[in-house]
């Protein structure tokens, strides 16, 4: 146990203290902070100014009514008689036309408000001109109702997409972040753990190490250390996200994107975290397994190719089916252990996915992790003193336990 901790400590500290770790962590933290302040940054580049007062050149009746409409719409702008920030000259015909004079750019939100206020005025003037009552006007504005009745009934078990059932964008964002973070960490740390193991083999220092500590003990300490390094990095990201949520008024940003929590948000977060963890453990164990096949650093990338392909495939499966989480491809691939961590959270988005389904996914991944770890230990033990170069040859040889 003591030796396990020694190797764990050594690997963990040397990785966490590495420049590459510190730099990537800081860069991603900065990106998160930037994303959290997205609207402020956009405003920064927006050269327009806020308008407080509006001067209207029109008949008194029009001005009075416009003032009422505008104040209902916007609390920031008020109509004044002189010295306004902008001057709106209105031509009171039907349709209304107007010229807005200002000494600076008006921001898009206020432009829209002015336009809507003028449209309202126009509507009222049309009603007056045509002598329409309120009810008649309301009928004109009414939305048409259309019902689509299809004779094809949905196949058994297939998810019926309810009319108007929109995905919850907050949950989609959570999924998106999970998958992206998982892919980022897997790609980064798969090569790190592979490098660690292959480097010790190729530099031959491993023979000194395994004369002090058993190979399996050493391997597990290394895998666990790298997983903890990745979790440390993840921890910094999560802390930054939480800090951004609390310190920066992110509510405005969220409402700007129409993100609102619903009853699936909490399970979504919990399952996403579980699959994120499982995904990391699975992919890093497999990378350790693959890393122990090679005896030269040059062969490492080739050996790790399956990890890259699988994680890439998993991520794309998730991304491409973002708005159709119930389709057959998603349902099948969500049980394939290497895709499960990416695809199963997607299925959680779908209200028709039961908890049992997700649980099966978790069990499938756990079993696969067990198998990967077992083979990694078995192969590592046999392969550390070997300098054979063929990967396939090594697998065959070590599996026989030679």
């Amino acid at each position: 146990m003591n030796k396990f901790l020694t190797t764990f400590r050594h690997t963990y500290l040397s990785k966490v203290k590495a420049k590459s770790f510190i730099i990537t962590t800081i860069i991603v933290m900065l990106l998160i902070i930037l994303a959290g302040n997205f609207n402020k940054i956009m405003n920064l580049f927006d050269g327009s100014e806020e308008i407080g007062t509006v001067e209207v050149e029109a008949s008194d009746a029009f001005t009075e009514q416009f003032s009422e409409v505008l104040s209902r719409m916007s609390g920031e702008m008020s109509v004044v008689e002189s010295d306004g920030d902008i001057v709106i000259t209105v031509n009171e015909t039907v349709p209304v036309s107007a010229v807005v004079e200002s000494e600076f750019n008006i921001n898009a939100a206020q432009q829209a408000e002015i336009e809507i206020a003028l449209e309202d005025m126009n509507r009222m003037m049309v009603m007056e001109t045509l002598d329409l009552s309120e009810e008649e006007a309301a009928l004109m504005m009414a939305e048409v109702s259309v019902d689509y009745e299809t004779s094809v009934s949905p196949a058994e078990g297939e998810v019926e997409v309810e009319a108007g059932a929109e995905p919850n964008y907050l949950n989609v964002v959570i999924f998106y972040i999970t998958v992206f973070v998982m892919f980022f960490i897997v790609i980064n740390y798969a090569s790190q753990i592979g490098t660690e193991i292959a480097m010790e083999k190729s530099s031959r220092v491993i023979e000194m190490i395994v004369s002090s500590v058993s190979p399996v003990n050493h391997l597990f300490a290394k895998i666990l250390a790298i997983i903890c390094v990745s979790l440390t990095q993840l921890f910094f990201f999560v802390v930054t996200i939480i800090a951004v949520i609390y310190l920066v008024d992110i509510g405005e940003l969220i409402s700007e994107f129409g993100l609102e929590a619903n009853d699936r948000t909490v399970p979504m977060i919990i399952y996403s975290l579980i699959f994120l963890l499982l995904g990391l453990v699975l992919y890093l164990s497999v990378s350790a397994l693959l890393g122990s096949f090679v005896s030269r650093m040059e062969d490492l990338q080739q050996a790790l190719l399956p990890v890259t392909m699988m994680s890439l495939g998993g991520m794309y499966l998730g991304m491409f089916n973002l708005f159709d989480p119930g389709n057959l491809l998603v349902r099948i691939t969500s049980y394939f252990p290497f895709f499960t961590p990416f695809v199963m959270p997607l299925r959680v988005l779908d209200p028709d996915t039961s908890h049992v389904t997700v649980l099966i996914g978790i069990i499938v991944v756990l079993i696969t992790i067990g198998i990967a770890v077992y083979f990694a230990a078995r192969i590592y033990k046999g392969s550390i003193l070997s300098t054979d170069q063929g990967i396939i040859k090594n697998i065959r040889k070590f599996n026989k336990g030679e």
Partner: protein, 299 residues
């Protein structure tokens, strides 16, 4: 008590790397493993440390099987040198010594001592990859002895070093042995074994050719070397009983004789001729024994 290898055999598929080795390494001795390339020295060491599983036979230390519970008492310098290239010397030693159960301060103190001993104190904070091959080898040797092990296994410890460094390392190895460590080392250099060891084992193609105390081996070997220097013609000795081989070089003759008793007969024969500057009986060198044992088996 001691280290005992009995009927030790290792096969890789059809190839027998180590074939039925039986040796006993007494506690506190300096034991040499002598053999050419592919003799089975490294394979034997790896089995000793449990890195390879023997096909047959047993290895015991103090009567118990060697396992990971006793690795803190063992120091090992592998033949294939290698350290973490990106680490600093002190970081590397800290890690490897902690694996042997040492504490930080103690490691630091010992490291300073050994760096001083090996005349490389300036390398403490340097990265391993920046060191020369010889200096890396010194660092690796420090890693294998820093925890003051009872049993030290050194696989070709002097290969690749210049003569000055070989002397420094030899001195350290002798010192460790004087302090009570049992040292087992392999080499293909006879002179190192002759200089350092009391006990040895000669391996050839996985087979144990000869083993035991060097003096006993030399005595048992029988053959002696006779050197005669003088102006008289003694070429007739070639046909003399007991003479195996004779090399003449001007006034000096080197004669191999089957046993020491023939030297006496030769002595009585040549004094009849008159004055000789030199008449000397030498013990056989390990080289002679090696060539005699191994060379004959080749044929």
């Amino acid at each position: 008590m001691s280290l005992v290898l009995s009927n030790l055999t290792k096969q890789f598929n059809d190839f027998t790397a180590v074939d039925d080795i039986n040796i006993e390494v007494p506690r506190g001795s300096m034991y040499g493993f002598l053999g050419g390339n592919g003799a089975g020295k490294t394979t034997t060491f790896r089995m000793l440390l449990g890195l390879l599983v023997p096909t047959a036979g047993d290895i015991t230390y103090d009567g118990a099987k060697i396992g990971y519970d006793m690795t803190d008492k063992i120091g090992y310098l592998p033949e294939e040198r290698g350290l973490h290239p990106k680490l600093q010397v002190d970081e590397q030693i800290q890690y490897l010594a902690r694996l042997k159960g040492m504490k930080k301060q103690e490691i630091d103190r010992q490291l300073d001592f050994w760096l001083e001993e090996f005349e490389v104190p300036e390398n403490k904070q340097k990265r391993i990859e920046k060191l020369s091959k010889g200096n890396q080898q010194k660092i690796q040797l420090i890693a294998s002895i820093i925890h003051e092990p009872e049993l030290i296994i050194l696989d070709e410890p002097f290969s690749g070093l210049d003569p000055v460094n070989v002397e420094i390392l030899k001195k350290a190895v002798k010192e460790l042995n004087r302090n009570g460590a049992t040292i087992l080392f392999s080499t293909h250099r006879m002179d190192h074994v002759e200089e350092l060891c009391e006990e040895l084992c000669i391996l050839n193609k996985g087979r144990q050719v000869v083993s035991g105390n060097i003096d006993d081996i030399k005595a048992d070997f029988g053959q002696k070397e006779l050197i005669i220097e003088g102006k008289h013609d003694i070429s007739f000795l070639k046909e003399f009983p007991g003479v195996l081989e004779m090399k003449q070089n001007r006034n000096k003759s080197v004669i191999k004789i089957a046993e020491e008793k023939y030297a006496e007969d030769i002595f009585h024969e040549i004094v009849k001729l008159g004055y000789f500057k030199r008449f000397q009986v030498n013990e056989p060198s390990l080289n002679d024994i090696f060539i005699a044992k191994v060379g004959r088996q080749y044929e």
